[in-house]
Each structure stands twice: as structure tokens, then as C-alpha cells.
């Protein structure tokens, strides 16, 4: 049996100064090679959980293992195993795509020749080769989203965390991004994805977890959950399980 990409057990976490725990006894497993989606209303803790899984937040109770490595014990050394595509643009707009990739490639520990090779490939797939030397501040939203993704996958991570990777982009860019993510997954990268684009999520994720009030309220294959709750789509399932009350 292979080691899970992510294994969370009995996780307890609260922000400093916060009275109640954000998470208490939370457990979740994402298998290696899965396309996994994490969904829930705003403010239920999806981003917090993503930040805990990527080591941006530190926890004291419970355990989070990434490919078998306890995150809190190896805060830096295991970072090469995963990539992170945050919702905010995480690059330097004053630089070109090529310059950004060279910089982040060095931070991932890649050799200059490897950076050049991987950069050329990714920029080609994402349709950015012709503008690779232009400054990012002149780019459209869709192009910026694609370069945001390119930086996160430059080092060919085993696990890729994606926080709203297609927010605010046109259909063409969304299609390119989703197709590329599927290709990466076919090559062995585990995808851990969160989004409010439920239609897009349906096409990408094979397994999902629904969160509400700091808990996992449903976790299974998407088709099983739809069948179990007699819903035709993720939106119906989402509303059926979480209701219509605002959480934020």
C-alpha cells in the first residue's frame, strides 16, 4: 500500500488570541496520485487547512504527514516535495516570466540548466513563450494566473496545492490551466485543490471533502457522494450538505 500524499490525524489548531479551536480532532487522508478537492463555504477553514498542510501555519496538536514526513518536524526540508499556487499572485510583476522562473527555480534548489529546460517546457505548454521576456505587470489576468501556476510546478512537485487557481480568468485560460493540471496528475502529481468554481471542480476532482464549521462533513469519491445524496451536481450537493446560511 502506497504512502498517502497527505495524512491528517486528530489535528487541533487555533489562531493565537482566538478562544475556540478552528479545528479539533480533524482527520483526512489524500492518496498519492489523487485529484482531490476541498470545498466549503467562506470562513470554514479551507485556507487555514491549506496553510497548515504547506507549513505556513504551525500546529501543536495532532499530526500532518506529507508523503510520510511529519510537517512540523521538517518545516523546510520537505518543501521541495510540494508546490503551492496561492490565490494571490505570487511573483514579482517588475520581472519577466523567465526572470521569475529563474529566481524561484534557484529557491527550489534547481540547477540553472534544469531551470532553463523546465521553464521552456512549462512556458510553451501554458502559451507564454512569446512573452517570456516581457514584464509581468503588462500581462492580462489570465496570463498572470498561468505564470502563477508555472512557478508552483517548476520543480515537478509530488504534491501540488492549488488555492483558487483560476479565479478571474477567461474560458481559454481556465481551459489551459485545467488541462495542464490533468496532465501533471497523469504524470504522478497529486492535486489538492480548493475553489468556488464548482463546475470546474466537477471536471477536475475525482475525490472531494466538504468542510463546515471546522469539520469534514463529507469525504468520498465525487460520484459516490452525488449518488448517496441524490444530487446531480456539486452545487446541489454543497447546498444540500451545508445549507444556505452565510458563514462569514
Amino acid at each position: 500500500m502506497s504512502i498517502p500524499a497527505i495524512a491528517i490525524q486528530s489535528l487541533g489548531f487555533r489562531y493565537p488570541g482566538q478562544g475556540a479551536n478552528q479545528f479539533e480532532g480533524l482527520s483526512l487522508e489524500v492518496k498519492d496520485g489523487e485529484r482531490f478537492g476541498l470545498f466549503g463555504p467562506n470562513g470554514v477553514g479551507k485556507t487555514t487547512l491549506m496553510n497548515l498542510m504547506t507549513g505556513l501555519l504551525r500546529y501543536k496538536e495532532g499530526s500532518i504527514r506529507l508523503l510520510g514526513h511529519e510537517i512540523k518536524d521538517h518545516p523546510k526540508s520537505i518543501n521541495r516535495l510540494f508546490g503551492f499556487v496561492p490565490q494571490d499572485f505570487a511573483f514579482y510583476p517588475e520581472l519577466s516570466p523567465q526572470e521569475n522562473l529563474s529566481f524561484y527555480g534557484a529557491w527550489y534548489g534547481l540547477e540553472p540548466a534544469q531551470i532553463r529546460k523546465e521553464s521552456d517546457e512549462i512556458l510553451e505548454v501554458l502559451g507564454l513563450t512569446s512573452v517570456k521576456n516581457n514584464r509581468l505587470e503588462t500581462f492580462s489576468g489570465g496570463m498572470k494566473r498561468r505564470i502563477n501556476l508555472a512557478i508552483g510546478v517548476l520543480h515537478r512537485p509530488r504534491v501540488l496545492f492549488l488555492d483558487e487557481p483560476t479565479v478571474g480568468v477567461d474560458v481559454q485560460s481556465r481551459h489551459a490551466i485545467i488541462q495542464y493540471l490533468k496532465t501533471l496528475n497523469e504524470q504522478g502529481t497529486t492535486l489538492i485543490y480548493t475553489s468556488h468554481q464548482l463546475e470546474e471542480a466537477e471536471g477536475l476532482c475525482e475525490k472531494i471533502a466538504l468542510m463546515d464549521e471546522g469539520r469534514i462533513i463529507a469525504h468520498d469519491r465525487l460520484d459516490s457522494l452525488l449518488e448517496q445524496h441524490r444530487q446531480e451536481g456539486l452545487e446541489g450537493l454543497f447546498l444540500g450538505l451545508t445549507g444556505k446560511r452565510f458563514r462569514d
Partner: protein, 426 residues
């Protein structure tokens, strides 16, 4: 090492592409140094070369009043404007408001009488036996017989003291002359010869003014030698405004979030910023010193004479720049918003400049402030620069200052590390 090189290249690229920011980084310090040096130079010239207009009303009918006016003129510090002696005190004072002069000096009606009476009394007592010298020499003059100096309130205290001192010395010459004349008459039973009188009045001992230097080369200090190094340090520390706020913006940006999820330490980013901005500070100082040497003579400012020990100058400049950059990074790490970094950074640099002796010379600061000098890195930088620029010292002469500056810098770096740990940034 590859990470550090890549980060330095990235930081340089970003810096060089912000052309307006770069222009401000060099243009503003140059402007600051030129303006401050020009202002200080005009004050310096006002005291040393230019003459202060003084309004003199001589109400005395005797010879001593005229002698006093002549003695004041001989000082060389004043341009005398004669006021109508029949004008009232109020009228003369009111002319200061119309900016005719900064100072007015009124010689009272009885001035000759008072001076002569006092001189006669002193001469008599000096020639009598020693016991009779006890007690007061003569009665104090009545208030209406006093000399009066009106001054414009814009005159700073130190400047007013210089004017007062100059006027007092002129009065003393007149009094001394009167005493000698009386003594001469009493001893020789005839009037003092005019040549001797003139010699007493104006035959002052010459005094050479020699600035001390460690090398023995006499460089006469001027406004540029004083102000260019001082305000260059200030400009270097003002990097806190741009670098401090840029640190905060980066901390709150997505790129920082990504860096935190990467296998390398954020310390690489901080080290790179230090390398890049220390070089910028060094370049700022180089540009300012070059302008002081090459441009200042063409815009009517005194030439900046560079110290003999250029290696020492480079080392002091690097030490100042490193400290300034460390301080800016520390402010950036502890601030939560760019506004906090800008506000605290700018005001704190001004405070450090004040207690460091940039605004008021350290020797002129109140005794209570003296211990605080040592905590200001600007003080140590200034002392090191003055050691080189004003005293023409060598590196060994300013090494204690460089070491103190380095000590403060290391302290700031440790504080920054503590801040990074506390804020979970490393």
C-alpha cells in the same frame, strides 16, 4: 550560494527597473546636502565674511562715543548705519521691524563722562596705596547712562552672544584707553601722544587661527567639510522610508507567501537586500562626495576636500550604509503596515540624528543628553567622518568609531532575527 546570487540579481533588477524610485534615491539626498550646505554656508559667511548691519545712535557729545563707533567699525563684523541721535529709543527699535538692521546700539548722552569718570577713579586708585583699592571703584552708572543693544528676535542666541561679545570688546578698548590716558597724564604730567593713543586703541596682539589635523596638513574647515558628511549619513539612514515600507509590502505579498513554502530560508532574501542596499548607500555617498568636490565650486559653495585616507573613507561609508540598511530592515520586520514603517522610520531617524549631533554639535548638547549620544549610530558615523574630513585622520584614528558602529549594527541584526522568529517569518 546559488540562491543568494539569484536573489541579489532579482533585487538589483527590481531596483533598476524602478527608475523614479532610483532617481529619488539619489536626487533627494543630493538636493538635501546642497540645500543644507548652502544654508549653513550663508550663515557661516554672514558671521565670518559678510557684515551685519548695525544701527548706531551716538547721543554722546564727548569724544568717547565717537571713539566707540570707530572701534565698532574696526572689528570688521559690522556694517554701521548711523541713526539720528535725537530719535527716541522706540523709534530706533522700530527700525529693526522694518528690517533695516538686526541690531541697534545706542550710546548714551553721558557716555564720555561715565567712561572718563571711571577711568579717572581707577587711575587714582591704582596710583594710591594698595589698601585704598578695596571697595568699589566707582558708582554704577544710572540706567539712562547705560549702553543699549536692541536685537531682532530672529537672531539665534549663539549669534546674539557673538554680537554682544564684539560690542563688549569695543567698549573695553575705549575704557582701557581712557584709563591708560589718565595714568599717562598722572605719571608724565602731560597728555598722551596721539600715536601712542592710536596704538592703545588699535594695536591688538595678532592671533593666528590654525585648525588642528592629525596629518599636519591644514585644511580650513568650511560649510562643505562640516555638512556634506553629516547630511550624507542622514540621507543614508533615510533609506528606512523606502526599504522599510518595501519590506512590509513584500511581507504582505503573495511572493513572500510562496517564499515561505520553499526549501530555502527567508534569511537569503534579507541578506540579499542588505548587499543591494548597502551598495546603493555606498553609491549615494560616492555621488554626493563627487558633487561636493566637482560641482560645489561651480555653484558658489566651498569645495569639499576629500580625506587623505580614501580606503578609510570607503570603510566608514560601508559601515554607515550597512547600519542604515540593517535599521531599515529591522523597522520593516517589526512594522505591520507601510504607514507604520514610514512614520516610525522617518521620525526615529530624525531623533537619532538629533541625539547623534547632526542637528546640534554634540559638544553643545545638554549634559543630560551626552550619554544618549552613544546609542545613536549616526553619532558614531559622524565622528568617524569628522575624523577623516576635518582632522584628516587615518583609518586607525577612526577605527574605534567604526567598531562602535559595527557593534550597534550587530545589535540591530540580532533584534531583527528576534522579530523574524517572533513573527514566525523564519
Amino acid at each position: 550560494m546559488q540562491i543568494l546570487i539569484a536573489t541579489i540579481i532579482k533585487d538589483f533588477r527590481i531596483l533598476l527597473r524602478d527608475r523614479i524610485g532610483l532617481l529619488m534615491m539619489f536626487f533627494m539626498p543630493v538636493l538635501l546636502v546642497i540645500i543644507i550646505t548652502s544654508v549653513q554656508n550663508s550663515t557661516f559667511e554672514l558671521v565670518n565674511n559678510n557684515q551685519i548691519t548695525i544701527l548706531v545712535a551716538n547721543r554722546d557729545q564727548g569724544p568717547e562715543g565717537a571713539h566707540l563707533v570707530e572701534a565698532i567699525g574696526r572689528i570688521g563684523m559690522f556694517h554701521i548705519q548711523v541713526a539720528d541721535s535725537t530719535s527716541s529709543n522706540t523709534d530706533i527699535a522700530s527700525r529693526l521691524h522694518t528690517s533695516d538692521a538686526l541690531v541697534a546700539f545706542i550710546i548714551p548722552k553721558q557716555f564720555s563722562g561715565t567712561v572718563q569718570a571711571k577711568a579717572k577713579s581707577i587711575a587714582q586708585k591704582a596710583l594710591a596705596d594698595s589698601d585704598s583699592t578695596n571697595g568699589s571703584i566707582t558708582d554704577e552708572p544710572k540706567p539712562e547712562d547705560s549702553l543699549i543693544m536692541f536685537y531682532h528676535p530672529v537672531m539665534q542666541e549663539s549669534f546674539r552672544h557673538s554680537v554682544e561679545g564684539a560690542l563688549h570688546s569695543a567698549v573695553q578698548v575705549i575704557q582701557g584707553e581712557a584709563i591708560v590716558k589718565d595714568l599717562y597724564s598722572a605719571v608724565n604730567s602731560k597728555s598722551i601722544p596721539p600715536d601712542l593713543e592710536k596704538e592703545i586703541l588699535f594695536g591688538q596682539m595678532p592671533m593666528s587661527r590654525i585648525p588642528v589635523s592629525r596629518s599636519g596638513i591644514q585644511v580650513v574647515p568650511n560649510a562643505s567639510q562640516h555638512n556634506v558628511p553629516a547630511w550624507t549619513i542622514f540621507a543614508m539612514f533615510f533609506v528606512v522610508v523606502s526599504l522599510g515600507s518595501s519590506m512590509v509590502r513584500e511581507k504582505n505579498s503573495g511572493s513572500f507567501l510562496r517564499l515561505k513554502t520553499m526549501p530555502a530560508s527567508y534569511l537569503n532574501a534579507l541578506f540579499s537586500k542588505q548587499v543591494v542596499y548597502v551598495l546603493v548607500g555606498f553609491l549615494q555617498a560616492t555621488v554626493i562626495f563627487a558633487l561636493g568636490r566637482l560641482l560645489f565650486p561651480h555653484i558658489g559653495l566651498p569645495t569639499l576636500h576629500l580625506p587623505g585616507d580614501l580606503f578609510g573613507l570607503a570603510l566608514v561609508t560601508l559601515a554607515c550604509s550597512w547600519c542604515a540598511v540593517s535599521y531599515a530592515i529591522c523597522v520593516g520586520v517589526f512594522s505591520n503596515t507601510a504607514e507604520q514603517a514610514n512614520g516610525f522610520g522617518a521620525v526615529s531617524v530624525l531623533i537619532l540624528a538629533a541625539i547623534g549631533g547632526l542637528l546640534v554639535p554634540s559638544f553643545a548638547m545638554p549634559a543630560g543628553f551626552q550619554p544618549w549620544l552613544n546609542i545613536s549610530p549616526l553619532h558614531w558615523g559622524l565622528e568617524a567622518y569628522y575624523g577623516l574630513f576635518l582632522e584628516d585622520g587615518k583609518l586607525k584614528d577612526v577605527l574605534p568609531n567604526i567598531l562602535s558602529l559595527a557593534g550597534i549594527t550587530i545589535g540591530i541584526q540580532l533584534l531583527t532575527l528576534y522579530g523574524l522568529k517572533k513573527k514566525n517569518l523564519i
